[in-house]
């Protein structure tokens, strides 16, 4: 009797696993139609989020962020360089998101995928206004700090944008720049490492991504859900509660009401993560 | 680039025709197709022009923009000159063979050609006039050409469009003044006058050359080869002639054959002979284009197709 029971359970478990593999879409849909998700979350629920600052000792600023299983490390390297002629008083912030085969089988080795390039570019556009590039000036027209932020994904399980944005915010807050001075006679920049200056962010950014799976709007989709979703909405808020970005992309139209729902959820999410950061 | 493969019978038909002085569209060997020229369509550039060579709206079509930038002088650069940087790009929206890296080779070939023709003083442009303060600042002219369609004779259209764009180019006036700093050393400083009214043309632009490409087909050659004629071309020669009737650049293309020296000298002679007519044609087109220079339609307009100039 007992024996029978276990074997039956195994049978069921096996069937479910097989079901997930061969009928991925149907598998997910069964959950969604029951008002739940395959990992037991509610539609509007984000995964557990952990932020740790200063995780890479060789970088001037760094962080590790985990949202569920998605793990990202961000390291910022500061170097002195010459400013652009058009903006002699501004430094640089260069962002690079790396999605290597190491973090998921869906990425191929070689040149950065379109997905990674799109993420890099989007984050670059977002932070252009969040960081006051004038504070990176050492000597006008001569020397400025150039920050290169490498955002490396260690484990990919969906929602890379939220994770990467949070990691960059945390790493920028962790960033300490030495006091630098330009010797106008020699043209050499010397840095005093004993004085560490913190960079003041104009605003902290709190991202929240929603995905449309069939007709269901779910927050913080994981990899399995993302594969079904053709459409996503990213809402980024700052610490004063104002919006920094709404980015709806993908095939399905999303009603304006839904976008407003996303904004409301994003406000709640921002409150939660501001405590974590 | 010759992506067009013709049958032996078509090739024979074209070659024998050229040898007898009959071209596929009835032209004589030195006749050029219809040329359409417009200027001033890129408002953000200092000068721009578009040239199409071909009839009834089908033809090689090139857009050229000239952008002037002030550069700070660095050691090793010419001390009292400005510079010209050419770049030619074949747009993948023009033809499928330009997809991906498909246009790399032709881009390099055309960029080189343009550089050979207008990149230096041989073009007639006075590059010293592009110097702002010796060893300190100078103008760089970026000539960016975009090839929108290819139907034979790209080189000629490129040079015609470039000449028009450079003739239409206006540089802002620069005021140079001497400042004495605290330590008593006099230094020159400059200011770019931001006034659309207060601009000047390029010195020497009127001396810029035009180019004609001669394609050797069978035992004869033709000017302004069509796409089909290019497919049977064994060798070609682009000759740039200035209004002073000087040859200022020559580039040979076509990998199949070399030129007999006698043919080469015949071609250069012919180039000089037709140059006068070519300049007259260019001048008339340019004058017409200048009348409509940079016209922007006030009313929303929907050009429908081919017979609109562009």
């Amino acid at each position: 009797m007992d024996m029978d029971d276990t074997s039956e359970q195994q049978q069921v478990a096996f069937a479910m696993h097989t079901f997930e593999r061969i009928h991925h879409t149907e598998f997910q849909r069964r959950f969604l139609s029951q008002n739940t998700r395959h990992d037991g979350r509610a539609f509007s629920q984000f995964r557990a989020t952990h932020v740790t600052k200063g995780t890479v000792s060789t970088a001037q600023g760094s962080s590790t962020v985990r949202i569920g299983n998605t793990t990202v490390v961000c390291g910022i390297k500061a170097e002195v360089s010459e400013p652009d002629v058009k903006t002699p008083n501004e430094g640089y912030l260069v962002t690079n998101v790396e999605l290597s085969p190491m973090c998921s089988a869906r990425f191929r080795p070689g040149a950065p995928s379109d997905e990674a390039q799109v993420a890099s570019e989007h984050i670059h556009r977002l932070f252009g206004k969040a960081v006051d590039l004038a504070t990176l000036c050492i000597e006008s027209g001569q020397a400025v700090w150039s920050l290169s932020a490498d955002i490396v994904c260690l484990k990919y399980d969906g929602n890379i944008l939220d994770t990467a944005i949070l990691a960059l915010v945390a790493a920028l807050e962790d960033l300490r720049l030495p006091e630098a001075q330009l010797d106008s006679a020699t043209g050499v920049v010397s840095a005093d490492r004993t004085i560490a200056r913190q960079l003041t962010l104009r605003k902290r950014l709190f991202p929240a991504t929603f995905a449309l799976v069939d007709t269901y709007l779910v927050a913080d989709a994981d990899d399995a859900e993302e594969q079904l979703a053709t459409t996503s909405v990213l809402v980024v808020l700052d610490d004063s509660g104002r919006l920094a970005n709404i980015w709806k992309r993908g095939a399905c139209p999303v009603s304006n009401e839904t976008i407003h729902q996303c904004i409301e959820s994003a406000v709640e999410r921002a409150e939660t993560i501001s405590k974590t950061l | 680039m010759a992506s067009l493969i013709l049958s032996p019978a078509e090739q024979d038909f074209i070659i024998r025709g050229v040898e007898k002085g009959f071209r596929g569209d009835g032209r004589g060997s030195l006749d050029r197709r219809e040329v359409t020229l417009r200027t001033g369509m890129i408002s953000q550039a200092n000068g721009s022009a578009r040239c199409r060579i071909g009839s009834l709206g089908v033809g090689t079509d090139i857009l050229v923009g000239v952008k002037a930038e002030v550069n700070t002088w660095a050691a090793g650069e010419p001390e009292e000159c400005g510079t010209i940087v050419c770049n030619v790009e074949c747009s993948p929206s023009a033809a499928q063979e330009f997809e991906g890296r498909g246009a790399d080779e032709i881009n390099v070939e055309l960029t080189q050609l343009l550089d050979r023709i207008v990149g230096g003083e041989q073009s007639g442009l006075d590059l010293r006039k592009l110097c702002i303060i010796p060893r300190q600042a100078y103008w760089v002219l970026h000539i960016d050409a975009l090839v929108l369609d290819v139907k034979g004779g790209v080189a000629d259209a490129l040079v015609w469009a470039t000449r028009a764009a450079l003739l239409a180019t206006k540089l802002p006036r620069v005021v140079v003044e001497s400042v004495t700093d605290d330590s008593g050393v006099a230094r020159a400083e400059f200011d770019v006058v931001d006034d659309a009214e207060d601009q000047m043309g390029l010195e020497g632009a009127r001396d810029l050359p035009l180019a004609a490409t001669f394609n050797q087909i069978g035992r004869r050659y033709v000017v302004d080869a069509s796409e089909q004629e290019e497919a049977v071309t064994q060798a070609k020669l682009t000759v740039a002639v200035s209004p002073k009737m000087e040859i200022c650049a020559i580039q040979k293309g076509g990998m199949l054959k070399g030129f007999a020296p006698s043919l080469l000298s015949e071609i250069t002679q012919t180039a000089l002979r037709i140059a006068k007519e070519e300049f007259a044609r260019f001048d008339a087109l340019f004058a017409e284009a200048s009348k409509h220079n940079g016209e922007l339609d006030e009313e929303p307009s929907t050009g429908s197709t081919f017979l609109e100039p562009f």
Partner: protein, 237 residues
């Protein structure tokens, strides 16, 4: 404060378009708003490499080239925006195992170029006869430092703006909104709002862009219908 080009705040720049201007592609269009101008060329449906082939639908590929300089990460971003916007509108299942290639070439960017790229793509797809569920029209809007919202901002206005918003809508959706429906009942296919803005700013820009998109759509339809009317006069023997 008057705008540099003396436009009203809710006035888009003069639109101009040419259909079928490139001869080597299946369909092409030039779309200009003021001096912002974009070309688009469409090939397709054509044979696809076996590696990329999809058994149930056409593969859609988008390439964007900037007006000057080399193509970079920025352009991948625009490509992904355009691809996403047209993924549903192109009836890709009607041409399985083929490729629809969209090449966009910016001619001049004087602001609102993303919207121009989307509009040019719609027109080129129509010109190519690629089956579409619907036409897509896009529009931009900027909130300036003084709080004024201006549609179809120039590069200069966008650079100085507090926030810039770009929306794209499907034609039927615009039609519904036009018949008196509130903006709440419309569903944009593409949204990119960025800068520093409030929900009220967003809503304001949404309405302005919806209205601008309406005008753009009407313009595109007129241009296309004009061309068809011309071609329908083909004499029949």
């Amino acid at each position: 404060m008057p705008r540099p080009d003396r436009r009203e705040n809710d006035q888009i720049r003069a639109l101009h378009s040419i259909l079928g201007l490139l001869n080597r592609v299946d369909g092409s269009a030039q779309f200009s708003a003021g001096s912002t101008s974009v070309y688009c060329g469409v090939y397709g449906p054509v044979d696809v490499k076996v590696y990329d082939e999809k058994l149930d639908r056409a593969v859609i590929e988008v390439k964007f080239r900037p007006a000057a300089g080399v193509s970079g990460t920025k352009d991948r971003w625009v490509e992904s925006a355009v691809r996403g916007t047209f993924e549903r509108e192109i009836l890709a299942q009607m041409h399985p195992r083929t490729l629809i290639q969209i090449n966009i070439q910016a001619r001049e960017d004087d602001g609102s170029a993303d919207a121009a790229a989307i509009n040019a793509t719609t027109m080129a797809l129509v010109d190519a006869g690629v089956p579409l569920r619907d036409m897509v029209a896009a529009a931009s809007c900027a909130v300036l430092a003084d709080g004024a919202a201006v549609v179809d901002p120039t590069l200069e206005e966008a650079a100085a703006a507090q926030s810039v918003h770009t929306f794209a809508f499907a034609g039927s959706d615009i039609g519904r909104a036009g018949s008196g429906g509130a903006s709440g009942s419309t569903s944009p296919v593409y949204v990119d709002s960025r800068g520093d803005f409030s929900v009220a700013d967003y809503d304001r820009c949404y309405d302005l862009c919806l209205r601008s998109a309406q005008r753009v759509l009407a313009f595109m339809r007129t241009a296309i219908e004009g061309k068809i009317a011309k071609e329908s006069q083909i004499s029949v023997v």
